[in-house]
């Protein structure tokens, strides 16, 4: 699909940020389409939070720049923050305030009145995140999941055209994560959501588009479906009895095999074989292993593509933060 300039909410051009001599973000040229949930994926320390702060004008780029909703991210950051909502990774609210006071305080940056409508907006926000009964609860008494939902409520209180969430599900249990992802899905109808994460399963579940960042550089940017289809070749699963090392060494000699991972089980081993050529794989993969008569194959098939495989393929190396 061809997009015009006005279809993008975020456009950055060679965005670069140094901290001293350390490059946190390097030549990042990113485009985020309107009305999508766009995931910003990378390991811990990949530069995701730095990029988010650059976009909001919380830190200044060392070079490069960009626009958000048509506003320059450096010179017009106050104007753009009127139309953007943000939830930081390690956010903090004033503990002495109640949930209602927190939302009214944030609303005060956007609305002057009438008070009746501001209260209505506070109620709508609480309903969206399921915290209506917590209106008068001090922020300090909320659970982790409730605080995260309050974080989303305050971030969207101005009906932002762009909602930026930095690792919104990182510290939550499965139920908390589901609740937050459900809220993001509800918000999809009215706003563009850019969220950074290192939880690959969440991205596959809710995101339309994804950008993968590694060591401050953009590795790839694509629609999630497109990436799953073409991202890293196909993955075949083969269950064998016998010595898996011999099978692995045979497979690794094939030029169209990208990687082989072994998962040992009590009575057998499962090989996950990533390939770059489906036709060759279909014709020769099974035969190659069966050539070794000491190995018995008890299962073989094409795996549904997983974002995790693509991520490992693109980023490579050991992953210290991926789940």
């Amino acid at each position: 699909m061809t997009r015009t300039r006005s279809d993008w909410v975020i456009q950055t051009d060679n965005l670069t940020k140094f901290y001293g001599r350390t490059r946190a973000v390097t030549d990042l040229s990113l485009t985020v389409p309107k009305n999508s949930i766009f995931a910003f994926l990378g390991r811990n320390g990949a530069g995701k939070s730095t990029t988010v702060k650059l976009l909001l004008g919380l830190i200044r780029p060392s070079s490069g720049g960009g626009t958000i909703l048509g506003y320059d991210m450096v010179t017009e950051s106050i104007q753009l923050r009127r139309r953007v909502g943000y939830l930081a990774q390690d956010y903090r609210f004033y503990r002495r305030m109640t949930v209602g006071q927190t939302l009214r305080f944030v609303a005060g940056f956007f609305y002057r009145g009438p008070q009746r409508l501001i209260e209505g907006r506070v109620q709508e926000s609480l309903e969206l995140v399921g915290l209506v009964d917590k209106l008068d609860c001090p922020v300090g008494q909320l659970s982790g999941g409730e605080r995260q939902r309050l974080g989303i409520a305050q971030a969207q209180i101005n009906n932002p055209e762009l909602l930026i969430l930095d690792e919104p599900t990182a510290s939550l249990d499965p139920m908390g994560r589901k609740a937050v992802l459900d809220i993001m899905n509800r918000l999809r109808e009215r706003t563009t959501v850019l969220y950074s994460t290192h939880i690959l399963s969440d991205v596959q579940r809710v995101a339309d588009g994804v950008a993968i960042l590694d060591h401050g550089r953009l590795v790839t940017q694509a629609d999630v479906g497109e990436l799953l289809e073409h991202g890293a070749g196909s993955v075949y699963s083969m269950t064998i009895k016998g010595d898996p090392n011999r099978a692995v060494s045979m497979l690794q000699r094939l030029p169209w095999v990208i990687s082989v991972q072994v998962r040992m089980q009590p009575s057998d081993a499962v090989l996950q074989i990533q390939v770059s050529d489906d036709q060759e794989a279909e014709a020769r993969l099974l035969r190659t292993v069966l050539a070794d008569t000491s190995v018995i194959v008890t299962g073989f098939g094409l795996q549904a593509p997983e974002l995790e495989d693509i991520f490992i393929h693109l980023v490579g190396g050991e992953d210290d933060g991926k789940q």
Partner: protein
């Protein structure tokens, strides 16, 4: 969104963006909680309690001496304790928010950096002056009458209180500047507190400093209120205002480059 169509939107731009909301929050921190009451009671106890003791033991003195004691002791107490109170109260204003992480949250909203500094200074100035000067000053005025039977000119007493307020204001803005410059509480408190505690030693070493700082301004209040001859008061006031302006300008400039 349909619901937002009827909202009156905040339109402030430039340095003003977000100021009103931030100042309301600062005022709520003082007056929407027990802080204002507790601070008022504390300074009432320290200043007016001490003044009561001094006046009680000077009942056998002539009326003029009692009046002079009342104004003089009040000035000394505010002149000595006001700066320390201001430093302790505002030392957390910037560095506390930075360490808690609320600063990043606030700055992610449509606010200007200068609005954050101005709201902190103005909100705390109101709080500090009301609790450390206005409330104790009003009570001290009545105490002076109660123990001498003579009303001091209210205009002159008010003007004297304004002069006394300059010293806490000097230290308040200096502490805010230190909060912007340093990230550890030790330095934020230590630098202005060292200056406040060492100001008399500094003046005795370099007497000229007294003319260009608010350090001995409190000594000029009694002669000014009771019709004496205050010395060099205009230069002291002007110098103090210049210092305050410099501290504010430096804080606003440095905070505009802060990365959170």
């Amino acid at each position: 969104m349909a619901s937002s169509d009827s909202h009156q939107l905040v339109e402030a731009h430039g340095w003003w963006a977000g100021f009103r909301n931030l100042l309301a929050k600062e005022n709520a921190d003082w007056w929407g909680t027990k802080t204002g009451l507790v601070q008022s009671l504390l300074w009432f106890s320290v200043i007016n309690g001490s003044l009561f003791v001094v006046l009680f033991f000077s009942l056998d003195m002539p009326v003029d001496a009692r009046l002079s004691n009342a104004v003089g002791v009040f000035s000394v107490l505010v002149g000595l304790f006001g700066p320390i109170g201001a430093i302790i109260k505002v030392q957390d204003a910037i560095v506390g928010e930075r360490q808690l992480g609320t600063l990043e949250w606030v700055l992610s909203k449509p606010v200007s950096r200068s609005a954050v500094i101005w709201s902190k200074v103005l909100g705390n100035t109101i709080g500090v002056l009301v609790t450390m000067v206005v409330v104790p000053g009003t009570v001290a005025y009545l105490q002076a009458y109660a123990f001498s039977g003579v009303f001091v000119s209210p205009g002159k007493f008010a003007l004297g209180s304004v002069l006394l307020a300059l010293s806490p204001l000097f230290y308040l803005t200096l502490t805010i500047l230190c909060g912007v410059l340093f990230s550890t509480r030790g330095l934020v408190v230590g630098v202005p507190l060292s200056l406040a505690l060492g100001q008399h030693a500094a003046v005795s070493l370099v007497p000229g400093l007294a003319r260009v700082t608010p350090w001995l301004l409190f000594r000029q209040v009694e002669p000014m209120v009771l019709g004496g001859h205050p010395e060099g008061i205009k230069v002291m006031v002007l110098s103090t205002l210049v210092w305050i302006a410099l501290f504010m300008a430096a804080a606003v400039w440095r905070f505009s480059t802060e990365e959170v």
